[in-house]
């Protein structure tokens, strides 16, 4: 299932959180050879993890991480502006209606459903929170994955060559895109919405109280 967790909620899911940061080390350092920091416990974390971001995490039946990505609003510090600002034409992307996604990660054990389900969560977030776009930084390899998932981004800029080529891109909200991603992933929109609502609708108590 998909979980939506802010960083300050991760402590409630220690196994899930630990395996996410280990899988990030495995993907970004071991497999892709990126210049990322691995801490003494083997986890990949960066300064954006300290800003209480929102994570969407695929939880495997055994409670471990299957895949994930990380959201932050572009009104605060974000990678697309801090690190890759020169790729968007000298104008920072800054709007409360545009959030950044980074650290799209898939574990080695992840089934084919996981990548699509995570992308679909981007659609749920845009739909549920009134966003117009999600922006992201990704490498060459992801372009192909996004195409397979059915969610190709609009490319704003890129630099580097081959394996090291880095792109900045945008996904505008479109319900048709969500339906396509859902269909390809084999996850129904209803189920995807249910995961979203499970995370962000804690109560229903106000209604009960009023009718009491």
């Amino acid at each position: 299932m998909l979980r939506y967790l802010y960083a300050d909620e991760l402590y409630q899911f220690p196994k899930l959180a630990r395996s996410m940061f280990l899988d990030r080390a495995d993907q970004f350092k071991t497999r892709l050879g990126w210049d990322v920091q691995i801490n003494e416990t083997g986890e990949e974390r960066d300064r954006y993890d300290d800003l209480n971001p929102l994570y969407v995490i695929w939880e495997e039946p055994d409670g471990t991480h299957g895949g994930s990505m990380r959201f932050l609003p572009t009104t605060g510090p974000v990678m697309i502006n801090d690190v890759f600002g020169h790729l968007t034409g000298g104008s920072p992307i800054c709007s409360p209606l545009i959030w950044e996604v980074t650290r799209f990660c898939l574990s080695r054990r992840a089934s084919s459903v996981v990548a699509g389900a995570i992308m679909l969560s981007g659609g749920e977030v845009m739909d549920g929170f009134g966003l117009t776009h999600i922006a992201g930084v990704f490498d060459d390899r992801m372009i192909r994955i996004y195409r397979l998932i059915g969610a190709s981004p609009e490319i704003l800029g890129s630099e580097g060559e081959g394996r090291n080529r880095v792109y900045v891109g945008l996904w505008p909200y479109s319900s048709a895109d969500c339906e396509r991603v859902a269909a390809r992933a084999g996850v129904s929109r209803d189920l995807s919405r249910m995961w979203f609502n499970a995370a962000f609708a804690k109560g229903g108590q106000l209604r009960k109280l009023r009718s009491a």
Partner: protein, 239 residues
């Protein structure tokens, strides 16, 4: 609350505000324009100090402060450290303390429906912008889906204005337009369509859309037309 009302005059009033009392007047205008019960802009800093403006009745404001309700208010607790807008129905009102608080609030004339937008400002600053009303769930969900994007933008414009009032504050980012944004807005003001503007600037329409979006936010506008008008009236673009 039928149809969608024009909120641009309110943004102009907000932009012109130079003191907290004027912000308070803006909350009243906004409340009346939206035909809802209340608007609250509430800033809580890391030391627990509170600041803001509201159309809530004064007895409720006094009581809230006296009781230190910000420590148990499910809206504050549910929105602190968050950045997604929150419908009050989605908060946890199940505890005894929260239920008593809600009862007290409603007895003081606070509506049963709320939609709160958390804002993360610079250096750990945190604020909440809330719209509040008395109605059923269907009416409320129509209202929030019609206005959510406008309300999110207005919430951030309120916070930006409030930050301006703080003494010795450095502006968080420049509100002047970048050269590319000036080019884009000028061409749009001249009546070019987006495809023509993108072509003239040798950029994709996607990139153009990002320029327009960031210019709109800098200008404190709700849509492109309003952003162009604001840029012209401030002399940022010359047509």
């Amino acid at each position: 609350m039928d149809g969608k009302v024009n909120l641009e005059p309110i943004l102009e009033e907000l932009d012109a505000a130079s003191a907290l009392e004027e912000l308070e007047q803006v909350t009243r205008t906004l409340r009346d324009t939206l035909a809802i019960d209340h608007i609250v802009y509430h800033w809580v800093d890391s030391a627990g100090d509170q600041y803001g403006c509201t159309t809530y009745p004064q007895p409720w404001v006094d009581r809230y402060l006296l009781q230190n309700y910000h420590r148990i208010d499910p809206v504050i607790l549910g929105c602190f450290q968050r950045f997604h807008p929150v419908d009050w129905k989605r908060l946890d009102w199940s505890g005894k303390v929260a239920r008593a608080f809600l009862k007290d609030a409603m007895e003081h004339g606070i509506g049963n429906q709320g939609y709160s937008i958390p804002i993360r400002g610079p250096n750990g600053q945190f604020a909440l912008f809330t719209v509040n009303h008395t109605c059923d769930d269907t009416v409320w969900s129509d209202f929030t889906s019609t206005y959510s994007r406008d309300l999110i933008l207005i919430a951030h414009y309120f916070n930006r204005k409030a930050l301006e009032f703080e003494a010795n504050r450095q502006p968080e980012f420049s509100r002047t337009l970048s050269p590319r944004e000036v080019d884009a807005m000028t061409l749009l003001a001249l009546g070019y369509n987006r495809a023509q503007v993108a072509h003239s600037l040798s950029i994709s329409e996607h990139t153009l859309r990002v320029y327009i979006e960031s210019a709109r936010f800098k200008l404190g506008a709700l849509n492109t037309t309003h952003a162009i008008a604001t840029a012209m009236s401030r002399g940022l673009i010359v047509v």
